[in-house]
């Protein structure tokens, strides 16, 4: 028993090690175009700043949207960007999957003695994610300072758990939708992008949407757990805060679903042939 736990731990550590080795190689490739890399960091931050500015201009005219204040909406917005940042900085590889499958390059991953999911996740780096992460966290910090909520240790700890869970949901959604590449053969599948765009709905309080849209982003593809429910819990909005506590469970569930879709798809995989 002890031996198997130790070996399990060793193999997990090896996976993490290999993951970062793969990521490091990608980083070198990106840094080859240095000027583009620097501009990309700032551009990613600029996208967020213009987005928050947009919300700010609206709130110059009205005091609240459906009872939601400016800083609450900024928090939702920032969570969308932070989780997107985590996704693109560490797990950009999901976006490459359709191309890997289409060109048959995915074969290489199957002959290596490492989980193909880890290889897919690590096979690309999106440095714009760093810009998203930094600005996202700054915005979260500012909105925390501007909302009348007592910042106890427990609440801060829960906030950290919620952010990690939200990022997990985001990556799981990316991975699960990217795995549709095993069914659809195309050099660049639109389905992951399509699903990704659904995240637009999660930038604003879900109370503004019709029931159908709410059902879609709460149940079908749980983007509401990336931004809305965590914000409601952290800022103590009683009517909506309880589901916020479910976020870690939703994260585990979506990740299990994504891995299952990937595994089922993998069984269908036939090389494109060379």
């Amino acid at each position: 028993m002890a031996a198997s736990v130790a070996s399990g731990f060793r193999s997990a550590r090896r996976l993490v090690y290999l993951y970062f080795r793969c990521l490091g190689q990608q980083m070198k490739a990106i840094l080859a175009y240095e000027a583009d890399f620097v501009v990309l960091l700032f551009s990613a931050a600029l996208v967020q700043i213009t987005g928050v500015f947009f919300i700010w201009t609206i709130f110059q005219r009205i005091p609240s949207i459906n009872g939601w204040t400016f800083w609450q909406v900024v928090m939702m917005y920032a969570l969308i960007f932070v989780t997107e940042g985590v996704g693109s900085l560490f797990f950009e590889g999901t976006w490459q999957l359709s191309n890997l499958v289409y060109t048959g390059k995915f074969d290489q991953m199957l002959v290596r003695p490492v989980s193909p999911i880890v290889q897919v996740l690590a096979c690309a780096v999106g440095f714009n994610g760093l810009g998203n992460l930094v600005t996202g966290f700054v915005l979260i910090g500012i909105s925390m300072a501007n909302v009348p909520v007592p910042w106890t240790l427990g609440r801060l700890l829960m906030l950290a758990i919620l952010i990690v869970s939200a990022a997990t949901i985001r990556v799981a959604i990316n991975l699960g939708s990217a795995a549709t590449a095993f069914w659809i053969s195309a050099p660049w599948s639109m389905i992951p992008m399509f699903v990704h765009q659904l995240g637009e709905f999660a930038k604003y309080p879900i109370t503004i949407y019709s029931l159908a849209v709410q059902a879609m982003i709460v149940i079908a593809i749980p983007f509401a757990f990336v931004s809305f429910f965590p914000t409601a819990w952290v800022f103590g909005v009683d009517a909506w805060s309880l589901p916020g506590l479910l976020t870690p469970l939703v994260a585990i569930y979506t990740m299990l679903m994504a891995v299952t879709i990937f595994r089922v798809g993998l069984r269908r995989y036939e090389s494109s042939g060379h």
């Binding site: 000027a35 890399f37 600029l46 996208v47 500015f53 110059q60 005219r61 639109m190 709905f201 503004i208």
Partner: protein, 267 residues
Amino acid sequence: MTGLGKYLAMARTSIEIWFVYRTTFVLNMIGSVFYVFAMFYLWQTIFLGSPGALAGFTWPEMKAYLLVSFVLGSLMPWFAEWNMSIDLKEGRIAIDLARPIDFQASRFASAVGPVPLEFCSAVAVGAVVAFMFGGIALPADGAHAAVFLVSAALATLIRFGLVYCVSMTAFWTTGTDGITVGRMAVQNLLSGALIPLVFFPDWLRAVAAVLPFQGMISTPALTYLGKMDAPTTALMLGVQAFWAIGLILLGRLAWRGAQRVVTINGG
């Protein structure tokens, strides 16, 4: 083939490419419609909370503004900088340099070819959104509609001129992802694509007024709604034409510089 013929052939080819990848194009457009839906719900809630007009916009006018912005934003999407970057990374630019064509004109031909198709599919998608939210305001009469079409055409020229200029930076930086994302962020804000410019504080309106971006969305959308009187409309169309010509000339200048620094990759 002589004169215009070769450019027409390029435009035709790019239309054929559009048809080959039509599913991708249409899905891409439907993807961007989620953004429009979110905006519609957001503004609907805002107008429900404050009936009447906000910054001079009524709810029907805002709906029309959002859809005009969506349709114009769907024309000549995001390919130019990206294509230029790939052409440079893979060395294909050598072929373009060897061809007896005007480089800018050839890029314009390929960009403008699918525009009617992009326009029609965006209008079709937009009509569905409009229907779901109880219809939108139409231009007051034929004259207003005609002026809008002129303004929309100028907006498309500005878009081409701007994107072409920005794509030229690829000759210096090779990768253009960063510049493209930055361009889109600034353009979304200052063109009025995110929110009509009258919502801005005065200082930012002043900034937007002296830059080309407002001619891409704001001016055509305001002509659609008939929100400007005749002299202002004439002036704004003149400003659009100024930027369209200016940016296209600037692009030609940049191309001359680019030919001096170009590196051909591969062999």
